[in-house]
């Protein structure tokens, strides 16, 4: 591999990678705003200026690729002065009110200002101001905080496939906005907030809900479709506050769709059933686990059962159930279910040109690989149904069968069930899911199951171990 010299260190590099990336690999970080590895390079913010021997002017590290023997300085006096100057320029019109800005704590502008800027401002002229804009249900814009990096414009253009963010006016009056001030149309809009290096574009869903430094991040996998996008769940005190994409170049690059991003809301939703309940004449009566289980077993006793397993369950849960049924419910007819119209992996396909898949559960391909068959309709003679699901699989019509549910259910599900035993959502358990391309990925437990909810192995253990009441 060819070599260049960065800050006096000999560094091997892959030809074609820019200086920012090459330097990053050896732990030298060059500050930047407009550069984003997933977007085209525009060299507009000028923050990444570096000194290169034999070149009279400073060069932007984002738009320059090293060549053999190139001598690059990222911390020379000229570079430090240029960084200081760029920070000053970016801040003269930026409000200096970090304490009331929702981006504080994870703001590139704040971080780079602290790292490379001056503590004092020499600016005494009037600051430029703009009107705020509500860009639809997902994003709120505060243009005063914008530093014109144009990442959002490029994201729309190059990733979301829709040129909805534009620059209007020019020079100092340039405004970054949606065309004609319309609401955003893309269903990947949440990414605009992620890539915005300042508090200019924020999520309606998250802004001013929680200071980011109180949040704990758990790296996990989205359960929204069979893509299995890598995500971080941000939570505090057992409550998930937001979900952001986590880089995985093989699967989702740097992005997630809005459906996946906002999917977590059911986890802490009030309508989630978190106690064992018996449903009687439409009323939900919370009971102890023991009575819930008793009632469930009583209903199942000696009957031919239809068992439906959500393809939102993990591989581990699937394997456990595969062993469980022949032993403990030998009469059961077991199928998997998930997305209406997408019963098996053959009918799963890309749902758009970006990330979304047709299967709206994460583990369709995994459940299939365990040998479970897709559910089409209940075989003749079934007298009772047992539905085990996470939070995503859509419960099919049970045609009046008395039903028992184990897993994540909302109050609206209750009318179709006699007993519901609360289980864990994807955010509350560890496990593995297999995406459409066969990638096995780890789902990680971010929070504890709420209320009386229990993990599936525990539920099954109780089912087996409690004194059987007319067991099959």
């Amino acid at each position: 591999m060819p070599k260049c010299i960065i800050d006096g260190r000999e560094v091997e590099f892959t030809p074609g990678k820019n200086i920012i990336e090459v330097a990053k690999e050896v732990g030298i970080s060059i500050p930047f705003f407009c550069y984003h590895p997933g977007l085209s390079v525009v060299a507009q913010c000028r923050m990444c200026a570096v000194e290169i021997e034999k070149m009279p002017k400073l060069q932007t590290a984002c738009s320059t690729v090293p060549t053999e023997g190139m001598v690059i300085k990222t911390k020379s006096d000229r570079v430090l002065q240029a960084q200081k100057a760029t920070m000053e320029f970016l801040l003269i019109n930026h409000p200096l009110d970090c304490p009331i800005c929702d981006k504080a704590g994870e703001c590139d502008l704040q971080d780079n200002s602290f790292g490379f800027g001056d503590a004092y401002s020499r600016y005494t002229e009037e600051r430029r101001t703009y009107m705020d804009l509500d860009m639809g249900p997902v994003i709120k814009k505060n243009m005063n905080r914008c530093i014109h990096c144009t990442r959002c414009i490029r994201f729309g253009d190059e990733i979301a496939g829709i040129r909805e963010m534009v620059a209007v006016q020019r020079g100092n009056n340039t405004e970054i906005t949606t065309s004609d001030g319309r609401a955003l149309e893309t269903d990947y809009a949440g990414n605009y907030a992620d890539i915005c290096p300042t508090g200019s574009l924020t999520l309606h869903d998250f802004r001013f809900k929680k200071r980011v430094w109180f949040l704990t991040k758990t790296a996990t996998v989205c359960e929204g479709c069979s893509r299995g996008c890598n995500i971080d769940l941000h939570h505090d005190a057992g409550v998930i506050q937001r979900c952001t994409p986590r880089e995985n170049l093989a699967i989702n690059k740097y992005w997630i769709c809005d459906e996946g991003r906002f999917n977590f809301h059911y986890v802490n939703d009030e309508s989630r059933i978190t106690d064992p309940v018996l449903v009687e004449a439409g009323h939900l009566n919370s009971v102890e686990w023991a009575s819930g289980l008793d009632q469930a077993r009583k209903l199942m006793a000696g009957k031919k059962a239809l068992v439906l397993l959500g393809s939102d369950l993990t591989q581990e849960e699937g394997k456990l159930l595969k062993e469980f049924f022949p032993k403990h419910l030998p009469n059961a007819q077991v199928f998997h279910f998930g997305t209406p119209g997408v019963s098996d992996s053959k009918s799963d396909a890309d749902a758009d040109k970006i990330l979304k898949r047709k299967s709206k559960t994460a583990n369709l391909h995994g459940m299939e690989s365990l040998g479970f068959k897709p559910f089409e309709k209940a075989p003749a003679g079934c007298e009772v149904a047992l539905v085990i699901r996470g939070g995503r699989a859509v419960v099919p019509a049970l045609n009046g069968l008395r039903a028992i549910g184990i897993g994540v259910f909302q109050k609206e599900h209750a009318k179709d069930f006699s007993v519901i035993l609360p289980g864990a959502s994807f955010a509350e358990k560890d496990g593995t899911v297999v995406n459409f391309a066969g990638h096995e990925q780890k789902v990680a437990r971010a929070i504890t199951p709420p209320g009386q909810s229990k993990l599936l192995p525990e539920v099954l253990m109780m089912w087996i171990n409690q004194k059987a009441v007319g067991a099959a």
């Binding site: 738009s63 100057a85 760029t86 970016l90 530093i147």
Partner: protein, 425 residues
Amino acid sequence: MQNQNETLFIQHFNEKARPLDYYLKQMSGYSAAKKALGMSVDDIISEVKKSNLRGRGGAGFPTGVKWGFIPKQSAKPKYLVCNADESEPGTFKDRDIMRYTPHLLIEGMVIGAYAIGAHVGYIYIRGEYTREAKLLQQAIDEAYENGYLGKNILGSGFNFDLTVHRGAGAYICGEETGLLNSLEGKRGEPRVKPPFPAQAGAFGGPTIVNNVETLAAIPFIVNKGGDWFAKLGKLEKSGGTRLFGVSGHVKKPGLYELPAGGVTLRQLIYDHCHGILDDRKLKAVIPGGSSAPVLTADEIDVVVDIEPMMKIGTMLGSAGVMVVHEGTCVVRLLKRITKFYAHESCGQCTPCREGCRWMEDILHRIEDGHGREQDLNLLLEVADNINGKTLCALGDAAAGPVTSFVKKFRADFEAHIRGGKCPNA
């Protein structure tokens, strides 16, 4: 005084010269194109290299060398683009070429296109030049009718289509990549270089962008040879004649055509332009369009050409010379210049977007009587933080005047700040 007959351009600068008929009879029109279409591409480029023709738009890059950058083979179509945006304040030479001798430009473009292997050309013309755009179009129509444009030009088998594209009034579209973006229908914002237009320009194809005066010189070079053209110039590296647009406080402002490197600024102002208006004292000269760093009255014994000007810290640029006499408020002048660049900044890169307006605001304050002692150093530092650190040359264009005015006329600025008003007022 120059002999008008020796000029390439100016002797033809009148309404009579415009029709094709005049061009054919009086200027041996399209004979160069005929000759060139029978020459090898390498021979043409080598003649242009020999001619020492340097870009007349402002950067002064050798035209033949630029043409040589175009790859011979290209998967994408190549383009020849004429930069007729002429938006640098103080510059008004291309306008006369286009309105009086449009066929000279068209012929130059036919030859240039042939030399680089382009079959499509564009003349990107300044939006305000509505009349010139119309006249150019008429000339292009004439050329099409007579077989000088279109298919099989002059029976050579070479095809070339030429389109006039009007700008929408942005200085930044005179920057060649800003121009190309605008031509493509995008925002007129300069692109990151590399890639340079010769590699990937208009619509991604290899593209040469040349100034009007540059292309209009090509027929002379082809007809009379590169050596002949080179000898018209009086300096080693600069061939041909140059059009100087002189404006401001001189007795005879206007367009002058003189041998490249053939006169000093003093000769231009005092001999050719008959001296300063009302015989007042000279205060300052902006020698190459408003972006050129200003010169004081003591600095005008300099040959008006690329290297000599560079040596004393300014530039020849587009050779738009603006003369300023005593009694003019330089603070106000600089504020006006800076306002122009702040207004014309495209806004994509940080130093130019933020810095130009900041400088304008400070200057506005000083002129308004609210200047502070520290403002002058602040101005110099802001200019220095812009200079050389922007994505395109507009930042340098804005910083150069500020740095030079404040350094060279510091006393005037200080008097403004201390007195709270213009001492001349």
